[in-house]
Every structure is written in structure tokens, then in C-alpha cells.
Amino acid sequence: MATYKGIKGFNIQTVSSDPSNPFVGQVWYNSTSATVKYRDGVTPAAWSSGGALTTARTSLAGCGTQTAGLAFGGDDSGGNSDATEEYNGTAWTNGGNLPLAKFSLSGAGIQTAALAFGGSAPGTPSPQVNVSTEEYNGSSWTAGGAMSNRMSSGAGAGTQTAGLGIGGNPSNRQATEEYNGSSWTSGGNLTTGRPSMAGAGTQTAGLAFGGGNPATGITEEYNGSSWTNGGTMGTARYGLGGAGTQTSALAFGGTPGFLNNTESYDGSSWTATATMASGRRRLGGCGASNTSALAFGGSNPTPLLNITEEFTGALPAATKTVGTD
């Protein structure tokens, strides 16, 4: 039978406490805990499976974080959806329904203080839906101030009391609108008006990326009053998911086709990172940064997906116990 010494040329060292600075691949026996331990290397960034949405849908909105996410609206098997679901890091549970069922809407905020605005509904054009705003308190939605102009397939960013509505349709809107918790006012225009982009960040440090039809990789950064161009994404796309902040953002999925690739933004340039298992478009996305995000729903070409995937950045080297970790 092969032995460790036979393979490595030396025995596993026995120590009473773990080495203070073990090297990657080092193995030792801790006599105090009676365990064999080893130093594992960095685990690369990756997408892993999350709990499935209760209502499979596409063209939905999302906000919040990987462990406290919110999905709302969209296009489901019955048409437009008013469903809201809350994610706890493991599973989705139903929240309060939107007063207006709509798809291609935008979202901002967190799970317990969210904003839904714009979107479309049957019988388009539907001006009352295009400008509607709803506020979520963690259990139910109430009407907020109407947007100044119609918007669907736009992007959202910011919070419930400092939100940002960016671009979209009709007619490749350049307009940006800012929400203060009760009403919308005009902000600076996008350099390139377009629909179906993703948004991230805050009202005074916002980010809009991708979008268009045909697809673009354009990224624009907002400072609270005007947009300037940032680094261009490697993969031009629209109908994508997005997460993070102006200096730490993630772009994933989208179309043409059903993209599974992911790009990470550091405030100046995009870098390719781990791919999703399920490529898709018209998905929902949320997350705090380019190391923690959630992708849910969409289509691939299965028309309505309930799949959730969680993105986690590279995990640092760590000491692990044989048989446990």
C-alpha cells in the first residue's frame, strides 16, 4: 500500500497547534484536535446554484444582495407578473404582490426598502404603467411618485429614497431621472440613449452598462449630474443582469444568443471572470459588489426560467481539515 512517506519522501509532521504561516499544499497532524489538516490554495471565483424562484419568469427586476435579494414583476406563464419574491441566501419566499403586473420594469434599493418603476403591460403603449412607481417595505408595495416620462426596459440604481431611472424605451431614451422618496426630477442625459442595459451603484455614483439593440458594450458613469464614458465591456450585450457599485460591478448573461459569460468592473475596466452554468437573457440581477451577486430567472431558450445562480469572488487560501472540509 502506498504511504505518504513513500510518495512525498517524508512523514506528515505532528504538531500541537497549527503552523502560523503554512504554505499551500502543506499537510500536518494536529495532536491537540486529533485531526489531519492541510493548506488549500485560492479557490477561483465561481457561480453556484441557488434556490429556484417560485414563479419562473423573464424581463423581471431585482434589487438587494446575495443573501437578501428581491425579485419582482416580469413576464410569466400567465402574462405579466405581479409576483414578488424574497431571497434569504438559500431559498425564495413570496412577498407582497405589486399593485400593477408589469414586465421590463426597473428596480432599486434593498429587500426591505425597494423601488419598482417604469415597465410595460398588455395593450402597450401603456402610459400609466410606463411612469408608475411603487415602494416596498419588506412586506407590501405602495404607490410612489410617478416618473416624469415613460420608461420601459430602463436601468435602475440607488435606493428607495435616492433612486436613479436610466435610459430605456421609448425611442432609446437618453433621459435619467432621480427619485427622492416622493417625486422624480430630471438628471443628466446618457451619452448614448439605449434600452435593456444594466444599472448599479448610487444616485451620485451610478453605473450603466451594456444595452441597445443591436448590443453594445458601452459603460457610462454618473456623478449625480452628468454621465461620462467608462471602460467598454468585452462582450457587447443587452438584456443582461448587473450588480454592484460604480467601482465594483458585475455584468452577466444577456443577448445576442443566451450569454453565460461574466465581466467584472473595477471602476475603469472590465475583466472576464467565471461563467454562469446557465446562459440566459432578460434575467434579473442584484448584489453588493463584483464579488457577490445573484442571477435569477430569464430565458435560455426555455421561455421562462426559475434558475438562480450565486456569484462569489475568489476565496482566499485557507486551512482545511481532512474529512470535514
Binding site: S48, G257, F258
Partner: protein
């Protein structure tokens, strides 16, 4: 001919179906019809298929499942109005690799 990929059908049950370690070691491709593509002749791929109780499919079997889903999706797209079609391109055929 040496295979690059292997295929199975497995229902994604959610959290834990593909975990971070698995995803960081091999590339998973989720396809329509609950078809999953993982590397062939790969310990981590084999372990994952066993974990999810995947039903292993030949290339032809996997292709038939995926193609049926894509055809249904294309038929649905063809029935859309011109305005709806302009929002999304027609789903393209998917050809699986050996």
C-alpha cells in the same frame, strides 16, 4: 474518437446543486431540457453527476432533448408579433459537441 464532454439529465433542485468548489474546478453548461454538459473523463464531473443522480445521455440522446426544447421555443417566437420579435432574436439551434 475521444470525447471532450459528457451529458446528463438532472433536475436543478436549487442551493447545493452546483456548489462553489465544483464550479471552480470544472465548467458546467446548463442546456434546455435539464441537460447538463460537463467534461468527459473527469473525476469532478463524474462525482457531480453521481451527486445529482444525473441520468447519463449519449450525445445523440442529449441533442434530441435540447433540439426539442429549442424547436418549441422557435415555434413560440415565430408566433410573436413583429414588435415582440424586435425585442429578442429568434432562438438559434444548439449543436452539442462530442
Amino acid at each position: 474518437m475521444t470525447k471532450t464532454y459528457q451529458y446528463c439529465v438532472a433536475e436543478n433542485w436549487g442551493k447545493g446543486f452546483i456548489d462553489h468548489n465544483e464550479s471552480s474546478r470544472i465548467t458546467f453548461v446548463g442546456l434546455p431540457g435539464n441537460v447538463w454538459q460537463v467534461p468527459a473523463y473527469n473525476k469532478h464531473g463524474n462525482l457531480w453527476i453521481a451527486k445529482v443522480a444525473g441520468s447519463v445521455k449519449t450525445l445523440a440522446e442529449a441533442q434530441a432533448i435540447v433540439s426539442a426544447e429549442v424547436t418549441a421555443s422557435q415555434t413560440a417566437w415565430d408566433a410573436l408579433s413583429d414588435e415582440e420579435k424586435s425585442n429578442n432574436s429568434r432562438p438559434a439551434d444548439i449543436t452539442l459537441e462530442e
